[in-house]
Amino acid sequence: MSADPVEIFRQEAADLLEALEQALLDLERRPGDRDLVNTAFRALHTIKGSGAMFGFDDLAGFAHEFETVFDRVRRGESHASPALIAVALNAQSFLRTQIETPDEASPAIGDGIRRVLRRPLKVLGYDTQRFAANWKNYHENPRDSFHANILHTFYGTFGLSRQAQESAMILDDHGRHVYFYTKVGTDRASADYAETAATLRSHNPDFRLEDTRLLKWVDEFGDGVNMQILTLYPSFVLHQVCNSIAVRQLVPRSPTSSDLHWTYLGFADEPAGMTDTRLFQTNLVGSAGLVSMEDTAVCEMVRRGTAGSGEGEASFMEMGGKDLTSGGSTKLSEKALRNFWNTYRVQMGL
């Protein structure tokens, strides 16, 4: 029998997370059940306490914020809505992966969440995209940071972004979570920039919006980041695109059909004008988003392209190699995709 205290914590936390998951699933059916809310709260409270005791500080911090939500439900200040349960199930799954396979990149990913979700939120509305592709097709998208300038040409076409902007893509060690962001106003005067840009299909210096109000945004977090796409394996995305803030939940419906549920958010205490700016910038994202509408269409195209023509057939495009490390460290690499698929296959025992 192991006497390793960290191992004991892992075992205890695994049991608590199982109880938490059951409570959340039951709450979906009985949202008014106070006993279930208390069970969820107590499980999180204990995970927080023992996590802090055994040195899992980030995990304890996350559990604390999670617990606070259920404390509000317990006090009757908030209710266990389907949206809240769905987010809670994602958070539960995140806690579980953090306990089972902690890694070094996770603090940065936690920072990305805290960077945006820093004050009490309000829901501005929902949007669902239903697309004919496997849920894993969608995961290739945020892992390919170069795709934005090839696929999402609204940016380049209207001067919202350039390839030479400062950007970063932070992954955890297993290719599960991806934290991608870009900063504006950091264009480098690179000698080959003009030439490179000219070959990009999206680049057209004569192309301007007639009504540029759509591109006006407020640097509300004070760090110049105009876009953050943070993807948590397996099914959660938090985005900030200018002042649009939303979480996306990826829900498989069948091997060839998936739903992407968008929940648009603002801060509960912000002035009406700020909320209006966020609502206006919904034009950029979601089902009809000028920047991102094509993501789901491309998932469908990729699925059609890789499905093969006969039963059991499939095609594969080898780019920078087949192992987990080849392909260099630039943005022009699909290394993150290989890591993602490898993690999935290992987890599924394939």
Binding site: T128, A132, T157, R213, T282, N283, A288, L290
Partner: protein, 161 residues
């Protein structure tokens, strides 16, 4: 209804509603913007959100120029499978004048036809909620709000409804 609308005015409003649908179905997307006033608004929002008092719209054009920008974007920037629509518009009701504009309602069904596999599917149903004004004797949309019935959009919404 405080102000009566002439039979001719009613016909002109119906023509405006039908012209919008036909221009889309015939791929004449550039002909849509002139059907809005200069400050004309065009929104697409789900009934799911509207019923809950949630303000989100998936398309929120706040001027004729913004509408033109969106059309230009879907022509040159956005990537999506080649497709076209067929509108059926019915039940046009001219409700009367309120705050300087004529309130009009109608229902629509839109079939979407995909070029790559020839499939025709019922893409969207919903209601147009219009505010119409006459400029130089011609009706235009001061605002056109599309409230679609299903909360889910199949793949994406590129071409306006």
């Amino acid at each position: 209804m405080t102000v009566s609308i002439t039979e001719g005015g009613r016909r002109a409003i119906e023509d405006l509603v039908f012209e919008w649908a036909r221009a889309i179905d015939e791929g004449r997307l550039e002909d849509l913007a002139p059907l809005l006033t200069g400050a004309g608004q065009y929104r697409i929002a789900s009934r799911f959100n509207a019923d809950r008092g949630l303000p989100l719209a998936i398309v929120d054009c706040r001027s004729q120029a913004q509408f033109r920008d969106r059309i230009r974007s879907i022509r040159v920037a956005n990537v999506y499978a080649a497709q076209h629509y067929r509108h059926l518009v019915s039940g046009i009701q001219v409700l009367g004048e309120r705050e300087g504009a004529i309130e009009v309602r109608s229902s629509y069904m839109v079939a979407r036809i995909m070029e790559h596999d020839g499939s025709t599917t019922l893409f969207s149903t919903g209601q147009y909620r219009d505010r119409v004004v006459f400029e130089d004797g011609r009706p235009r949309f001061l605002s056109r709000e599309v409230i679609y019935d299903s909360r889910a959009i199949d793949t994406l919404l590129a071409i306006p409804i």
